[in-house]
Symmetry: C2
C-alpha cells in the first residue's frame, strides 16, 4: 500500500482497503518514499512475491490531497525536501526546489522558458487523449508562457497539480501468473537509490544522481546496454513533477547526453512515433500527481502500453516489448527505475 499520508484523517488506510476488498486477515503495510511512494509499494509487493512468501500481492497507491487546504499541502510537500535547513530556514517549497534546477540548467545549456513549456504542451496533449487524466485540455506554448510565475522561471503550466487518485496492480508468482492471465507483463528489474538530504551536498544541479544510479542498477539487472537504451525500450513514464524534471530525466536515464535532453522535446522525439515516447499518458503534469498513487499508476500505464491497450492516438508501437517507469521522491531523495517487459526475465 503506497500512501504518503498526512492529508486524510484516516491513519490505517491499508486496513480499510483490506476490509473493503474482502481481504481482512491478509497481511498489509503502508510504504512511503515521498513522491516515489507508489514505486516503493510495487517493489515491496514484487519482493514478497520473488521471495516466495506470497503467491500473489496487491500493490495499491492512493492519495486524497484535496481534503487539506492548499497551503497545508504545499507545506507538507515542502517537508519532503530537507526539512530543518532548506524548508524551515530558507522557506523552500517544491516549485522553489525545481526552480533552482531549472535556473541552473537554463543558464548552463542555453535553454529558454519556451523550451520548458514544450514539455507541458506535450503532456497536456496526451492528457487530452487519456480519459483518466486530471487535465483534458490542450495548451499552447503561448498559453504556458502567459501563465503566472509560481517560482521563476517555473510558471503555473510548468507545475504538476494537486490530485486525488488511486491505482492498483496485482503481482503474482510466475506459476500463478501464467494460470490467471494469458497476457502477463513482467517486472524485469527495479533499480533504487537515494540522494543526500541536503541539496548543498549534491555534486551537480542539472540532474539527479539518485536517478542515474537507479537507472544504471535497473539496466544492469535487466542486462540492457545503458549506452543504447532508447533502442531497447518502447515507452517511458518519467517523473515530470515540473517540466524541467522531465528534461533532466531524459538525461539521467540516458535517453540523451548531458545538456541535450532539451533537443528531444524541441524535436518532438518524445511524442508517439518519436525516438522514445515519454509520458504519453499525460504524465504527472496532466494525468495528475496523487503522490502515493503515481508510481503504481506508472505500472498500470506501462502494462496498458505493452499490451497495446492504450487509447487511440497515444498507443506507442511495441517493438522491444519493454517499458520504463522513473519515479522520484523529494528532489532526488529517493529514486525508483522499474523495467516492465512482455518477456519473462531470465535467471
Amino acid at each position: 500500500m503506497g500512501n504518503a499520508g498526512g492529508w486524510s484523517s484516516e491513519a490505517l488506510v491499508p486496513v480499510v482497503v483490506n476490509e473493503y476488498s474482502g481481504l481482512t486477515g491478509k497481511g498489509a503495510f503502508r510504504v512511503e518514499a515521498a513522491c516515489a511512494t507508489g514505486s516503493a509499494a510495487v517493489k515491496a509487493a514484487a519482493d514478497a512475491v520473488a521471495a516466495g512468501v506470497a503467491d500473489i500481492a496487491l500493490a495499491v497507491g492512493v492519495e486524497k490531497m484535496n481534503e487539506s487546504p492548499t497551503p497545508i499541502v504545499v507545506e507538507f510537500i515542502g517537508r519532503a525536501g530537507n526539512y530543518f535547513w532548506e524548508f524551515e530556514n530558507f522557506g523552500l517549497t517544491f516549485p522553489g526546489y525545481y526552480a533552482l534546477y531549472a535556473t541552473y540548467y537554463m543558464q548552463k545549456y542555453g535553454v529558454k522558458e519556451e523550451d520548458l513549456c514544450e514539455v507541458a504542451v506535450k503532456n497536456h496533449y496526451y492528457g487530452s487523449l487519456n480519459p483518466k487524466a486530471q487535465f483534458q485540455r490542450r495548451i499552447t506554448v503561448e498559453e504556458c508562457m502567459k501563465s503566472r510565475y509560481i517560482a521563476w522561471p517555473l510558471k503555473l503550466y510548468d507545475c504538476s497539480p494537486i490530485t486525488d487518485g488511486a491505482a492498483a496492480v496485482i503481482l503474482a508468482s510466475e506459476e500463478l501468473a501464467t494460470k490467471i492471465t494469458d497476457s502477463p507483463v513482467w517486472i524485469e528489474a527495479i533499480g533504487v537509490s537515494t540522494g543526500t538530504a541536503n541539496l548543498s551536498k549534491r555534486e551537480d544541479y542539472d540532474g539527479l544522481k539518485a536517478a542515474r544510479i537507479a537507472a544504471q542498477e535497473a539496466y544492469k539487472r535487466a542486462k540492457l546496454d545503458p549506452e543504447n537504451i532508447v533502442k531497447q525500450i518502447d515507452v517511458a513514464d518519467v517523473h515530470d513533477c515540473f517540466t524541467i524534471a522531465e528534461i533532466m530525466a531524459y538525461e539521467d536515464l540516458g535517453f540523451a547526453k548531458r545538456g541535450e535532453g532539451v533537443k528531444l522535446i524541441r524535436e518532438k522525439q518524445t511524442y508517439v512515433g518519436g525516438l522514445i515516447p515519454v509520458n504519453v499518458d499525460g504524465g504527472l503534469k496532466a494525468k495528475g500527481h496523487p503522490i502515493g498513487a503515481t508510481g503504481v499508476s506508472m505500472a498500470v500505464e506501462m502494462t496498458k502500453q505493452l499490451l497495446g491497450k492504450a487509447e487511440s492516438g497515444r498507443q506507442v508501437t511495441v517493438k522491444n516489448g519493454r517499458g520504463l517507469a522513473h519515479n522520484v521522491g523529494g528532489t532526488g531523495h529517493y529514486c525508483y527505475v522499474t523495467i516492465y517487459s512482455l518477456s519473462k526475465p531470465k535467471g
Copy 2:
C-alpha cells in the same frame, strides 16, 4: 526503515539515516503498520534479501514521540484504531480500546485487576535488569493497584509509556551472512495478518484474530506444531502495550488455552525458568514503546537471547534455539509473528 512518523517535523527519515550512515545512493523506503511498524520493516528487508535483489539490508526502527505534546501523541495514536467511527465519534483512544478488552476478559474469565498488575510487576522487574529499558524501577502489585486509572480497569502501571527510541538489525543472504558472522540468527518464518478496521466487526473481544492468523501462518511456515508451541521455542517478546494485551497474546499464540492465559502469569510461568519466558527485556511496558522501533527492538532481543548475550538474571536457557516476536498494530489491525532461530530454515 520503520517509522510511524507524525511526531517529528522531519519527513524523510530514511534519507537522513542513509546520509548519516554513509549509505546515500542505496535504496530506502519508509514502512508503516501502526505499532507493528518495526516488524513490517524487518519483513520488508527480509523479503528483499530472500528475493535476491539485495545481499544485505538494514532494518532500522526509529521514533521520537516526545517532540509532540502528550495530548497530540494520544490523539495520533488514537487514530490508529478506527478513525471515523470509533475515534471521531466515540472518542476512543488506546487505553480505552484495551480497557474494552480488559473488561470483557475479566468478566468472562473471572480475572481481577491484581492479575493484570502481575504482568506489570514482571515486566518492570525485567526492565530493571535491562540497561536499555526506559523504566529501571521494580514495582509491586500494591503500587500498581494504587496507581491512577487511565481507563477503567487499566491504571497507569497497566499502560506502556511514550518513548523515544531506535533499534536496527542487519539482514544478509545466506552466503553473505556466513561470511560476515560466525553466529547468525535466522528468520525462520514470518506470519502476517490484518483485522477489521471497525471493532464492531470483530468476532470476539478476548483476543485478536489477526494475531491468531499470523501465529498459525508463522508456525506452518516454520513447520512447528501449533498445539505444542511452548516446547519448541525458548523465549518470546509479545506486544504488551497494555497488561491485558500480554495475557491475550499468551492465548492467541497458543502458549495457553482460551481463558487460561492468566494462569501463566499467576504461576510465574512467563518468568525466566518458567514454561515460556515472555518479555524478559521489560516488554513495551518497561523497556518502552517507541512505535516504529518496537518490532525491530524485538528482533534485537531475540538475537541477544538466542546467542546467550542477554544481561544476567534475564537470560533464558536456550534449548530449542528458537524465539518468537509478536507485534501488533492498532488493536489487532495489523499483526506480525516472527520466528527467529539458531538453525538455518530448511527449504
